[in-house]
């Protein structure tokens, strides 16, 4: 059932998003009642495909009670006149990687298999950090592990390919709505995804190569599937280790898997392995997806596109441009080659959308919300239409998380996760003025206007790989 969702075309997505949400929607997290608000005279972006002018949104008990042009504010509601402002659905980043206070295991014998770790473990998202996310328009955050891939950003440094001491299956994501209070109380149950990736590692344990890590991941899912059969048959010899049990549902295609891969060939390998194993998978990262957009489209799965880019020196195909034709700077200007590659990488989301791939944007690998918002603007400047950017931050990630009945559009019955912006959220300079999370109004204090950032183009001109 879940799997078929993503085979639906854009039309179906549109139809689903306009359908009245079911009564199955339920209060999450704190579950406390909130006051009611009437947001009046606003331009309301209901969904990427529907905009209302001078409309009213009524919020009550954490939910959207009504949306429309001719709605009178309830008598008990606090009225906010939003003339000149625009209401958006709260944005969703399904796989953010905030700093963890719990250190990653660096023990030489650390297991590669840790799906039992929760994304929320070791994350302390203080109010200032939540405020920064909300100022970027984000109201729902997936908390992911940065491990499971060989692409990492060193703190304060350029992206670089490093050999990681992190598990190939580093954990499972957690999802929170960015309200106040302990993160544990904000968790949205049922939306966890198992993370898996192909890395090459320096730790002194099998596997130490890419070919080994692919075999390891393959075997891990086979083991979990076997364990599931043993347990269901109540046969002897059950393996009760939590890391095996935590993979059982995913091995049977009953829990979503986020497959972290960025290189062209690894994306294809992840698709092929996932199809062989029958996984309910979503590609995460997929920075070189533009090199094989047709293949990804054929896979019929959504992609969580990371806006954290690899250095162009590591990009597939750079050698075609640089080295075939000699060694002279004027003949093959490395700066020009890298600029072309950097542009292609930043156009990744746009290319995938054009190929018909359901794309969600994520900050996976970026440091935080400011970088994310800038990177989103950059992706828009690189050809991603604003409506598609909105879809990639609302409707599509909501479906990836299985939360399409609760978040992602401004419709009656959904959680009142709303962003009020001065204008086009995807234009440089637009400020976010108000944010509502589950009906609670949040002041936006870190209210710097968004701006595009200079593209990271990898090495300085002339720099070569040794």
């Amino acid at each position: 059932m879940q799997r078929s969702l993503f085979h639906a075309g854009a039309a179906l997505v549109l139809a689903a998003s306009l359908a009245p949400p079911g009564a199955s929607a339920q209060s999450t997290a704190a579950g406390t009642l909130t006051g009611s608000y009437a947001l009046t005279n606003a331009r309301v972006v209901v969904s990427p495909d529907r905009v209302l002018q001078r409309a009213t949104v009524v919020i009550r008990d954490g939910r959207i009670e009504a949306v429309g042009a001719r709605i009178a504010p309830p008598r008990d509601a606090q009225v906010l006149d939003l003339s000149g402002l625009t209401v958006y659905p709260g944005l969703i980043d399904a796989a953010a990687t905030p700093a963890r206070t719990v250190p990653q295991p660096t023990d030489g014998n650390a297991s590669n298999l840790a799906p039992q770790r929760r994304g929320v473990d070791g994350i302390d998202l203080p109010e200032t950090a939540r405020d920064a996310w909300r100022a970027a328009g984000v109201t729902t955050l997936g908390l992911a592990y940065a491990g499971g891939t060989d692409l990492r950003r060193e703190p304060g440094a350029q992206y670089r390919i490093v050999q990681e001491s992190e598990p190939l299956l580093p954990g499972s994501t957690s999802v929170v709505n960015l309200g106040a209070g302990p993160l544990e109380r904000l968790l949205v149950p049922g939306s966890e995804a198992v993370q898996v990736g192909f890395g090459t590692r320096t730790i002194h344990a099998y596997p130490v190569t890419l070919m080994g890590s692919i075999a390891f991941v393959h075997q891990a899912f086979l083991d979990a599937a076997h364990q599931r059969r043993v347990r269901q048959a109540q046969a002897p010899g059950a393996d009760r280790r939590p890391e095996v049990a935590a993979l059982e549902a995913a091995s049977a295609g009953e829990q979503r898997v986020f497959f972290t891969v960025w290189q062209q060939n690894n994306i294809r390998r992840a698709i092929e392995l996932s199809e062989e194993l029958g996984l309910d998978y979503v590609l995460l990262g997929a920075q070189e997806g533009f090199r094989m957009a047709d293949r990804i489209a054929r896979a019929g799965r959504p992609v969580l596109v990371s806006l954290s880019y690899p250095p162009t020196t590591q990009a597939t195909g750079r050698s075609y441009a640089l080295d075939v034709f000699g060694a002279n700077g004027e003949l093959h200007d490395p700066a020009r080659v890298d600029a072309d590659l950097a542009r292609a990488l930043r156009g990744n989301a746009a290319t995938l959308v054009r190929a018909g791939v359901p794309v969600a944007l994520t900050s996976y690998g970026l440091e935080g919300p400011e970088q994310f918002r800038s990177a989103v603007l950059e992706a828009v400047q690189a050809g991603l239409p604003a409506a598609e950017a909105l879809r990639a931050l609302t409707v599509t990630p909501a479906r990836i998380l299985g939360l399409q009945d609760r978040v992602g559009t401004v419709e009656r019955g959904k959680l009142a996760n709303l962003v009020v912006a001065e204008g086009d959220l995807f234009a440089p300079g637009t400020r976010v003025r108000h944010v509502f999370v589950e009906g609670r109004h949040h002041e936006v204090t870190q209210n710097a206007p968004s701006r595009g950032v200079a593209a990271e183009t990898g090495p300085a001109p002339g720099e070569r790989e040794p």
């Binding site: 099998y206 130490v208 070919m211 080994g212 060939n265 094989m292 700077g329 003949l331």
Partner: protein
Amino acid sequence: MKRLREMLWTGAALAVAATAAPLPAQDIAVRGATILTVTRGTIENGTVLIRNGRIAAVGPAAEVRIPGGVRVIDGAGKYVMPGIVDAHSHMAMDGGRNERIDVVTPEVRVRIRHDTMDVVTALAGGVTTVHVMHGSHNVIGGQNAVIKLRWGRPEEEMLFQGAPRLLKWALGENPMRSNTSPPLPARYPQTRRGVEHTLREAFSRAQDYMAEWEAYEARARTDRNALPPRRDLRLEALADIIRGDILVHAHAYRADEILMAMRVAEEFGFRIKAFQHALEAYKVANELAAHGAAASMFGDTWGGFGKVETMDATPYGAEILVSRGVSLSINSDSEERMRRLFQEAGMLTKYGLTEEQALATITINAATQIGLGDRVGSIETGKDGDLAVFNGHPFAPSSRVELTVIDGRVYFDRAQAMTLEKLLATPTYTGDRR
């Protein structure tokens, strides 16, 4: 100069562009050349015609009709040989060569980084098919890849479709010396006896695994709820070796360990397809012939390995092996040697091989050793359209490759490539910055 620069930027644009659809097969003909078919002798003033990527006709120029619309290469003064097959390489491996912590890792499969520059230099040396092997740190290494050097195409299009599964063993000093470093303890095995024991133990476990699955399958015929055993990719691969579904290429130098490997294989009911390096194979040539094992050696690259086990090597070993009916190939084991593999093979004519025998070591014999003798390695009707066109006989010291063709498509053309001569003639060239 302007044309050259346009060409260069075409390359740059290609690099950034998304991967295009698979290439259609192509037609091409070389007319009026000396054709070294390898298996059917030499044809003076001959023509080879490739249609839809396969060799459609080969024979005297007067007898082969070239249909209209087919690109014709003038072969006057040129020599055409089958595209060269390198039976042992580690080129273009993606993400590591040795899965070296465990000593038995047949479940891992070699992955290819398709944009590796070594592909280009190999093409310039007439190489078209390469056996890319797991490294020699492990007694039972991983499953190898066979690639065609379709430069510019992604990994899945470089892989040789229809190639059998091949796997690397390594005997002797390499697995004995490939020790882990602290904090890990030294890895077992440390001796040749340990290598043999590692093999026996692995295949004994594989036999148990096969028996476990056979018992399950018997049970499942009557019991629909029978629980299948745990699938183990490592043991599955070992079982596939026993079944003959995976062909073993064993890195081995010394005669005693070559005999040991054949004994172990026969004990478990399979055969070694080929011994790699095989420097002392000449001492046990009759035993190799009886077992059906081939040998893949260097041309005259001997010594210099710093290993005691290489001491008894001799280039005359090649002739001894061939005379006893052992299939012999010459391999590069090096991206540098690969681009002049034809010269390596040519050197063997000094040590007793005929020209035809020497040519076979880098074509049909290498192809047969990797299970592709019916597809590549000779110029025969129906085989893949893979050719290397030289400006002289491949064994003549001054000869070089003019054109390399795979599936009827030109992947290297000296007339268009950036050669050293062209580079030196470029006014702005200031030297190799690497």
